[in-house]
């Protein structure tokens, strides 16, 4: 055999002896991972957090830091305990922590009608820290062991921690008892909450541009809408666009009808229900949590309509301001059922 051939032969025999890695197709994957989605969400939330600092001052910053630090530390400690069953997931924990801070209600300022003091800052920090820890430990880690998450971790943790406090001590003084069922009382609430001591004198501007009451994350409705929309676009279809859209549309339709039936100022009525922090922030950052929302398009729409109706009902008749979190947890529990709705016929069988 000629020398040249021999050389080829030798190198080929090397290859023959070697087993290659065998993997199933596809051999490439798209660039989007869970972590990337979490990073996008975290960046978006940071922008919202900045608007909150603008509205609420340095207190908001400290609350945000407290929540994120507690969440990340809890996550780290649990990953040590759970080892393989729960690998460390810093971004996810940080996002949850930030949502805890941003979904915290800063209360309503002292006013003539409602002699409601804002929460003591120290109590605020403790509450945020406790909710943050409960979110990560109980509702992210332990719920995660079930194989899937049934309820939104932040909403559930907030309800679990705050409900007893509200019902025991703060309920009589807290904003959650504000009656907004009639337009007269709504106007009182608007005067009390959205013009007194607010950046703008006009309740409508306060509601849409910048407010310093209610949910920390809902400080600027416009910012939430812009950032939330940007997040939906950047995430290229990995977040469920239908949910915030349907939820907000449902809220608008119901409140407009309610205002129309009672002969009220429809714009104010709709603006209040849409832009109050607990609705706008929840729509873009909590209701779209993929793990606790339905898989099918129809399921998502039913979910969001239910969420809108429940939120409205809780606010009007339950006098539960910020009732959207209760509505969210209730709707989360229907998801296993909604997943079976709206499974369309595949290609060629329609």
């Amino acid at each position: 055999m000629r020398a040249k051939n021999r050389k080829t032969y030798v190198s080929r025999s090397n290859m023959i002896n070697r087993e290659l890695v065998v993997e199933p197709s596809p051999h490439v994957t798209g660039g989007v991972t869970k972590d990337l989605l979490m990073k996008y969400t975290f960046v978006a939330l940071c922008v919202i957090a900045a608007t909150a600092i603008l509205a609420f001052g340095i207190t908001a910053l400290f609350m945000e830091i407290t929540a994120v630090v507690v969440a990340v530390i809890s996550d780290y400690l649990l990953s040590l305990i759970m080892k393989k069953k729960g690998p460390i997931n810093t971004y996810s924990a940080a996002v949850s922590g930030l949502i805890v801070a941003l979904s915290f209600s800063s209360g309503i300022p002292y006013s003539v009608q409602y002699s409601v003091p804002t929460m003591e800052p120290n109590i605020q920090y403790i509450a945020v820290a406790v909710i943050s820890a409960v979110t990560v430990i109980l509702f992210k880690r332990i719920q995660g062991l079930l194989g899937r998450k049934y309820v939104n971790p932040v909403a559930a943790a907030k309800l679990l921690v705050l409900a007893p406090i509200w019902s025991m001590a703060l309920m009589p003084q807290d904003h959650s008892i504000i009656d907004i069922s009639s337009f007269a009382s709504l106007q009182v609430a608007l005067q009390a909450c959205y013009s007194y001591n607010a950046p703008f004198k006009d309740p409508l501007l306060t509601l849409t541009v910048l407010k310093n009451h209610g949910w920390v994350g809902g400080a600027s409705s416009i910012a939430v809408i812009v950032v939330g929309t940007a997040l939906l676009l950047v995430s290229r279809g990995y977040l469920k666009l239908r949910i915030p859209l349907t939820f907000l549309a449902t809220t608008a339709i119901i409140s407009a009808s309610y205002g129309f039936i009672n002969g009220e100022d429809i714009i104010l009525r709709v603006a209040f229900h849409l832009f109050v922090g607990s609705v706008i922030f929840l729509a873009f950052f909590m209701a779209i949590d993929p793990a606790t929302t339905p898989l099918t398009g129809l399921g998502q729409i039913i979910f969001a309509i239910g969420l809108g109706i429940l939120t409205f009902a809780l606010q009007i008749w339950g006098h539960f301001f910020g009732g959207s979190i209760l509505a969210l947890v209730i709707m989360n529990l229907t998801v296993p059922l909604l997943d079976r709705v709206g499974i369309h016929k595949p290609f060629g069988r329609r």
Partner: protein
């Protein structure tokens, strides 16, 4: 919303087809198509010439294989068959370098085409061993003879070549445009179809220009250049994109009056009829992590390792080798694997550039696999049902409709190998 994939073709699409030298030893797998396995017609010690039929079957759905080189049959034993691991029989031929040609198939001239019978042409396509060269490998002569009660209105030539990295069809169109024109003529005659549609992705700019130029005098041929998605490379989805109807599940395109052929198959038919050349070579793309991607005209039966060797891909750097596109291709166990008719590309993934495919974590229920599935299946629901052992529910979700495009695994942010799980379940159910 249709999921987009990165095509990674920019570099290779400009590289002209290079003729790869004949191998020292060709390993011809007896079964390379979908259908009945072939039986060797030669025995050890026989001398064979280029284009000589060396294995065949009597079944209708089958296609013979031919010797790509002239030489001596040295052994008939097992080799690694990338598509059918249960049919490893192969014929090993040692090259004698004499390039003797077998003359069984007589070439006909273009002017003779109108005089020959349709049966002659179908027989010619079968004898030339032509199968679907887009990767499916279904014998072409069967697709060219639909039942007589189903008139074929359209011949649809699929030139989308949608899988990642593959550029061989694109180069073939650019360099062998006249062959495509001739092949289309033959197929039209055989099928009796009035209209021809050539579907091509609009970013193959040069190929589209060449086709438009070549078919400019033909009012019945329509070149449809559109931004087809990866999934629309599938024949049923392509028909929906072009004609608007959905082929009912379980039916074949001819029932809708359409026959779909890959553009490389059209080229092979033209060569078989006008040049009397059976299918013994094909154009492939060598790409992946290699520095200079190539388009090569390679003899069937050339071992993959031989090709890699020539382009100085060091065996110790290779992590894995994939035959076919990166989405649907098969990852092979050894580079001893010979090239078969269905191989469209050889993709090399090097250790230095290799990233572990995403590790599987819990589903985050983003529902992206559902919106990405071109068939509107529910991949994650099927996988959940199968993993719970609920086969009935999985069947109600039509898991057997899946054509394994792999887009669900591609988009999954949790790294769940959805396509692979579904593929294994479907295989399991069929058994």
């Amino acid at each position: 919303m249709a999921a987009k994939i990165k095509e990674k073709k920019e570099q290779a699409r400009k590289v002209p087809i290079e003729v790869f030298p004949d191998p020292e030893t060709a390993v011809i797998l007896a079964l390379q198509h979908i259908g009945a396995p072939n039986v060797p017609l030669v025995s050890v010690g026989d001398n064979v010439s280029i284009g000589q039929k060396i294995a065949d079957s009597r079944e209708r759905i089958s296609a013979p294989v031919h010797s790509p080189i002239s030489g001596k049959v040295v052994k008939i034993s097992d080799a690694y068959n990338p598509c059918y691991k249960e049919f490893p029989q192969a014929i090993f031929i040692e090259n004698d370098g004499k390039k003797r040609k077998d003359k069984t198939l007589k070439p006909i001239s273009e002017s003779e085409l109108k005089d020959v019978s349709i049966d002659f042409l179908i027989e010619r396509v079968r004898e030339a061993g032509i199968i679907g060269l887009g990767g499916a490998g279904f014998p072409t002569h069967v697709k060219l003879s639909p039942p007589p009660d189903k008139p074929i209105k359209h011949l649809l030539v699929n030139a989308c070549e949608s899988d990642i990295y593959a550029t061989c069809d694109e180069r073939l169109i650019v360099e062998k445009t006249s062959n495509i024109l001739k092949g289309v003529k033959i197929m039209r005659k055989v099928l009796g179809s009035q209209k021809v549609v050539i579907a091509i992705k609009d970013n193959k700019i040069e190929a589209v220009e060449r086709l438009k130029e070549a078919f400019s005098g033909d009012p019945d041929t329509r070149i449809v250049a559109r931004p087809f998605t990866y999934q629309q490379g599938d024949e049923n989805l392509l028909q929906k994109a072009i004609f608007g109807y959905e082929v009912p599940a379980g039916k074949l395109p001819y029932e809708m009056g359409v026959v779909v052929h890959n553009v490389a198959t059209v080229n092979a038919v033209a060569k078989a009829v006008f040049e009397g050349e059976p299918l013994t070579s094909r154009v492939i793309t060598l790409s992946g992590d290699v520095e200079e991607p190539k388009n090569l005209l390679v003899k069937i039966g050339t071992p993959v390792g031989h090709i890699l060797d020539r382009f100085k891909v060091s065996p110790n750097d290779i992590q894995k080798v994939v035959l076919g596109g990166a989405m649907m291709g098969i990852s092979i166990r050894t580079t001893e694997t010979p090239l078969i008719k269905r191989t469209t590309s050889i993709l090399v993934f090097l250790k230095s550039k290799y990233k572990l495919v995403k590790r599987r974590t819990d589903c985050i229920r983003c529902s992206k696999c559902i919106s990405a599935c071109p068939l509107d299946l529910h991949p994650i629901s099927i996988v959940e049902a199968m993993e719970k052992g609920d086969v009935e529910r999985a069947k109600r979700l039509y898991l057997t409709d899946c054509f394994e495009c792999g887009i669900c695994s591609y988009v999954c942010p949790s790294g769940i190998p959805l396509a692979d799980i579904i593929r294994k379940c479907v295989r399991g159910l069929k058994r």
